[in-house]
């Protein structure tokens, strides 16, 4: 049984990560609005606080005070549970992502990761595959045809792109010889994996955008399609939870992309955590950039792209990488 110091450190890490995640999710909404308004040559939120910095707080208060409507024929238990089910996988994914190197604090050597599981990457895929439940159950529990169809479409999209996402990472696994994310970051000391696995990175990024239902793959939840999809019957806090879940998922896949392909916390001069956050911000900025620029995929185009283009490409990537590793 490890001593009390172990538990204190772990709880502190969990508290810090959880708190920062919640804060980031809130300010990611602000960031997105500001960046998109810059792309569209307008100002964005400016009124609430300097440069709209208090906008997320205003949005949060507004959402909390809205009337909480539950449709009469909706399945109450699952209707209330579904947004939470959507939020949980996004947050527990962060348990295995390394933020930095070892630090010495109060005489203890602390790893900057909540839990270095030796099957970390598989754990992340398991958790990602659970993200489907929140959406499909929310769509069904609303007792609304459009919500059900939107939920099923979104779920089908997620499980299709999950496959290519998993396969695109196998190249990284072959190069790093380990499933533990800490060791994958360790294996990028000479060269970041984006240089060795460019196709893998591209496929992973595209699949990550599709997984989190972001533009240009946001057909299932766009307001102009299918009446906003699976969250059409949700209001107030439950809608806010779905909203938060989407942004939290975005942060999670960006952190994954950073860890697997961009070298995690590696970088000269600056402290590792700063490098991690900088790379994270870069990937998130890329996501927002894509949202501001590209039109939406139609659903059948989306599915065709996932199965007929990305899947063979990911498999080809595996074969080529395997050939290189075997010949080395």
């Amino acid at each position: 049984m490890p001593g009390p110091a172990f538990f204190v450190v772990m709880l502190a890490k969990i508290a810090v990560v959880f708190g920062l995640m919640l804060l980031s999710v809130a300010y990611l909404t602000w960031l997105e609005r500001k960046v998109i308004s810059d792309f569209q040559v307008r100002l964005g939120p400016m009124r609430v606080g300097p440069h709209g910095l208090l906008q997320p707080i205003a949005d949060g208060i507004k959402l909390m005070f809205k009337e909480d409507i539950i449709p009469q024929a909706a399945d109450r238990t699952i209707y209330v549970l579904a947004p939470t089910l959507a939020l949980i996988p996004a947050f527990i994914s962060f348990a295995v992502i390394p933020f930095g190197d070892r630090v010495r604090l109060f005489g203890q050597s602390i790893d900057m990761v909540i839990s270095d599981v030796n099957i970390g990457l598989l754990y992340l895929f398991g958790v990602a595959s659970l993200g489907v439940y929140g959406i499909v159950l929310g769509g069904w529990a609303s007792n609304n045809k459009y919500a059900l169809l939107g939920g099923l479409r979104s779920a089908a999209q997620m499980i299709s792109y999950e496959l290519s996402m998993g396969l695109s990472v196998v190249g990284v696994l072959m190069l790093s010889q380990s499933l533990s994310l800490v060791r994958i970051v360790g294996a990028q000391s000479k060269a970041w994996f984006i240089l060795l696995q460019p196709i893998g990175f591209l496929i992973f990024l595209i699949c990550a955008i599709a997984e989190t239902n972001r533009a240009p793959f946001d057909l299932p939840e766009a307001e102009t399609e299918l009446v906003a999809g699976f969250h059409v019957e949700y209001s107030s806090m439950k809608f806010a939870m779905y909203f938060m879940a989407e942004y939290a998922n975005m942060i999670t896949v960006a952190a994954l992309a950073t860890t697997l392909f961009l070298g995690g916390w590696r970088g000269p001069f600056l402290p590792p955590v700063v490098w991690f956050l900088a790379k994270l911000y870069l990937v998130i900025f890329l996501f927002i950039w894509l949202r501001a620029t590209l039109p939406r995929f139609r659903y059948d185009q989306l599915m065709q792209f996932g199965w007929k283009v990305l899947l063979p490409l990911a498999l080809a990537n595996i074969v080529i990488t395997a050939a290189f590793v075997a010949l080395r």
């Binding site: 049984m1 399945d75 699952i78 599981v117 030796n118 099957i119 598989l122 754990y123 895929f125 398991g126 595959s129 659970l130 489907v132 439940y133 499909v136 159950l137 069904w140 059900l148 099923l152 779920a155 089908a156 499980i159 499933l179």
Partner: protein, 168 residues
């Protein structure tokens, strides 16, 4: 110490399994089955089979049950009457009688069995040294290569079969 994890996981597995066969609404049964899969995944972790535990979540809870939920939601599956209201009660009694016989046989078989204590080469220490996933990978491509290839053919058959059967 292990009992501290085993007892709650076992109780959860049994409770959710009973819920699967007793609940009337198929969606609730599916969700109870997901609960069973999580409990089993926890038990696999307790048995130090990490790869199997995570693969259980990915495949069963993450893919197979989602498929179940799709089908339940798309087909208008009604609720069936509870067993004590059904017309075919003799069949029910016979069936449950045979199940009781099965349970009796299992109890006798497990109760009178003596553990062999034979130890193969793959002890926990060896597995932890090499790595569970690495070891499974190694064995899968050497000793169990033929079943592996046959499984891939089975999956191909399933894909083609599902597409043919579900097409209009």
């Amino acid at each position: 110490m292990e009992w501290l994890f085993f007892i709650p996981l076992a109780v959860l597995a049994l409770a959710t399994a009973v819920l699967v066969i007793l609940l009337r609404n198929p969606i609730y049964c599916a969700l109870a089955l997901v609960g069973t899969f999580f409990a089993l995944s926890g038990l696999y972790l307790l048995l130090q089979a990490e790869f199997v535990a995570v693969v259980q979540v990915i495949i069963y809870a993450g893919a197979i049950m989602v498929l179940f939920l799709f089908v339940i939601m798309l087909l208008d599956v009604g609720h069936e009457p509870p067993p004590w209201l059904r017309q075919d009660r003799p069949k029910l009694v016979l069936g449950l009688g045979l199940v009781a016989l099965l349970v009796l046989e299992l109890a006798v078989a497990i109760g009178s069995w003596i553990a062999p204590g034979i130890r193969g080469p793959y002890t926990s220490d060896y597995i932890n040294a090499v790595g569970n996933t690495q070891l499974i990978g190694r064995l899968l491509f050497t000793e169990f290569l033929i079943p592996f290839e046959i499984t891939s053919i089975i999956l191909l058959i399933a894909i083609v079969g599902a597409m043919v059967l579900a097409r209009r």
